[in-house]
Symmetry: D2
Subunit: 290 residues, 4 copies
Amino acid sequence: MSDSPNEGSARLVAQCAKRPGILAAVFEYLDRQGAVVLQGDQHSTDGENPRFFLRVEYDLAGLKAPPEAVAEGFGAEVASRFGMDWRVAYSSARRRIAILGTREPNCVLDLLWRARTEELAVDVAMVLSNREILRPLADRFSVPFHHLPVTRETKQEQERAMLDLLRGKVDLVVLARYMQILTPTFLDEYPERVINIHHSFLPAFAGADPYGQAEQRGVKIIGATAHYATADLDAGPIIEQDVLRVTHRDTRAELMRVGRELERQVLARAVRWHLEDRVLVHNNKTVVFS
Amino acid sequence: MSDSPNEGSARLVAQCAKRPGILAAVFEYLDRQGAVVLQGDQHSTDGENPRFFLRVEYDLAGLKAPPEAVAEGFGAEVASRFGMDWRVAYSSARRRIAILGTREPNCVLDLLWRARTEELAVDVAMVLSNREILRPLADRFSVPFHHLPVTRETKQEQERAMLDLLRGKVDLVVLARYMQILTPTFLDEYPERVINIHHSFLPAFAGADPYGQAEQRGVKIIGATAHYATADLDAGPIIEQDVLRVTHRDTRAELMRVGRELERQVLARAVRWHLEDRVLVHNNKTVVFS
Amino acid sequence: MSDSPNEGSARLVAQCAKRPGILAAVFEYLDRQGAVVLQGDQHSTDGENPRFFLRVEYDLAGLKAPPEAVAEGFGAEVASRFGMDWRVAYSSARRRIAILGTREPNCVLDLLWRARTEELAVDVAMVLSNREILRPLADRFSVPFHHLPVTRETKQEQERAMLDLLRGKVDLVVLARYMQILTPTFLDEYPERVINIHHSFLPAFAGADPYGQAEQRGVKIIGATAHYATADLDAGPIIEQDVLRVTHRDTRAELMRVGRELERQVLARAVRWHLEDRVLVHNNKTVVFS
Amino acid sequence: MSDSPNEGSARLVAQCAKRPGILAAVFEYLDRQGAVVLQGDQHSTDGENPRFFLRVEYDLAGLKAPPEAVAEGFGAEVASRFGMDWRVAYSSARRRIAILGTREPNCVLDLLWRARTEELAVDVAMVLSNREILRPLADRFSVPFHHLPVTRETKQEQERAMLDLLRGKVDLVVLARYMQILTPTFLDEYPERVINIHHSFLPAFAGADPYGQAEQRGVKIIGATAHYATADLDAGPIIEQDVLRVTHRDTRAELMRVGRELERQVLARAVRWHLEDRVLVHNNKTVVFS
């Protein structure tokens, strides 16, 4: 794997205040560099402070300069002109994730499985947990497992140990029912790079035991929400949500069973979109070019 | 329309504490009366205070006694034995509804239309509103319209006037975006007979401007909820919910447009199920034998 | 209504063989003309004969030349260079549709209603039918109704009469359960401008009585399909499809009832997308920039 | 595990020509035996040859006789009276399945996984295949794997070998993308006990390469269908179907990826319902008491 790929495609992701001429500038530049556009998505908002969002996937094959030079040129020539917040990623630069779990194997295994079968084009660098219980699962997939127990007193220390393990090794952290609240210190190191799955249709049933809450309220639909984790619990930018119908017949146990299926799908979709650089965040909301 | 139908079917709806022998007693009784069962639904809960719910639709054609006598006999022989909360309704006894609206024609017209085309087997006895704006719609369908303006000072009085209009004329009140909160005094007269439509997936986005709230929170799915109105606003027993996917492209106006379609469907389904005696309520939750 | 709008937006729709530089050329041109892009969608196919599809919505407010001149310039400068099949439509140029029906009021009324409430930004120029039965509905909405009876012998003549009525007055023909097969002669006058609703998930249950077929086969889901009408019956390019779950309880009558609701939604969505120039056709398939 | 369970529940499943008095007879009998009903479902059809379907789940705890005696008594007293096709199954009698696959691990692994995690309460007795490729998967789950290669000449022989392996060891055969057509000889041994997954919304796209067909036709929704295998290929009674929306962006590869997820869900649901004795078959259609 190389940071300077000669084949595959690049994904240019950018956002900035909305102004005329952005698309012309972007596509004129790419065309001049020999970049054939494979897919282009654009969105802009109205109202006060209108904002512009862009994702362009282009082929590296015909580039007239090395990919990095093309990207640097974009920064110097286009991005700086429009004050863009931007990045370029390469399809050849395989992403690495860490999975954090506690007890429940459901989402942990689903991610391990999808990574193994290439349903998700990702390497699982490690599984981290505050319990031992998930170790055999990680072992079965030959993925390093780290047990980092935590108490209220050792939380800071434990997070520091996790950060030490993650640093430089991981591009995305996935909370697959990790039953600990991460501190802002931790989250600040991975802005918009920690994805959490919540087993309800947020903002309904935030907090603990959402299925119990749902069963109590008598809802006819249950949901799951994948979102970027932020210091404000269950309130981070929503990446994906989905729902399933339930009836009076469904006990809490049954809600949990069907919900597990939903959780893995929603989480896997959010992780895929993140890995494919399809998710842009602004003002605690996402633009998803799915 | 007759209270003593000789044709059509009866719908027996009952609930009570769960005990052995209920089904045997119910079906033995009905069989003895010559009642051929067309559809039978049953549900029971577990846990503390387990409860039993029943809905049986039976043909009146072969009854060995007048329908009322059969029903009375059921009460005396079966319902009293099990302490049932029960009722019998006849398919021939056409239900009458009142529609309460304020400004938005969406659900009002949908209901008028469905009643006209017999998609809903119901008579719309009247449209009531605190505004004049819906009058032409009611006129177009030749449905009586009553304008009952309301201020904070005249609320009690206005509700009393509504109750006078409704009394004896209406079996169900449908709040089709009626922008006034009904008092417990009003609701007590129509327990489990006032259906409201809320344009969100309750309990998310209760209160005012749910689409604005949804757009603000960046959800990927919007919903609608039909529920029995109770004194506790937006917290009554949920009859039906449904959702639609939305994206970052959908402005608040767009959310409102797609939401309107959802609202009418969800409300119409809830009204249909109520009219067909498919909804049983216990502990602020519904059993829906749909 | 003016063909030379000074406000509102334009929708540029184009397709051509895939080649490098198209996006650069398009957006450079538009930028040079002062056209602020409101929304841009692009798609390209792989494989043999890869093809490029484009839809750009731009604001007319800042244009440096009259809208028509900008469009003409686009044709001369960009479209001709890439061999584009293209058109420009203006949001201010309100579209006119004709609704063709036979007996069933379901979709006819839904369209009339949506046009009335501006859920669809369209004028219904006329309702045409081979029966009289729908006349009162058209009258209620003050829409001209034309009764054009047809027999096997008079088919050619009747279609000619319809074409005379439609010519110059209508931009889109909607078959809202019109129970006659249109001849290629008719369809050739309105290529990709006749939308039909079929009450099944095509290609399943093509032909007559799809609900009967569905009930017979015991499917667990029913569907509806809106497509452009072509000489090859039920085989034209699919614009939109949707489905609903059904169970063993649903009789054919019940399938028809729930199906009607589905039909109107699917048809209305297809009509909306067509009217907003979101549907591009190539090789009997659609690209829908929804 | 015992055929004479003293705890858990029994599931009585029955069908017969519709006649009055069935429910009374069934529930009177069960009540007399001390059988507390946990769940009761009933369905009857109209029209010619109306038919009655029943599923009753009852607690074994309070039975006044051994479960087998209760079941035998039911046969003698009730089933014989109404000419019922019936059976009783016990929740304690764990079912055993064989999974037949060829190359694709998707559904095979999903079933192995669900069996392991008890999402499906079933024992996987063996994995059979005409290829070696799935052996490591079976090994990983410590499930016996049998490789039974097949050519046109050896088909009869191979099926005989499979039947030898299955006989007495397996209650249900699941075709998890088994790429061989089973002969009537094989299927006759397992009537309504062989479940197949087809990767389309049947009857659309029966036969080979359904995703290719779907991509070719330009559908907006893809589906999956689980059905009992019959001699008439892809035409057996449908147990469950579900769909996913797709767009012009989805290539055949993408359709296959999202389709795989759908297949496993639909197949797992059908298998669960079968295992819980929720599926009754009559006239090539199913009644599913889900």
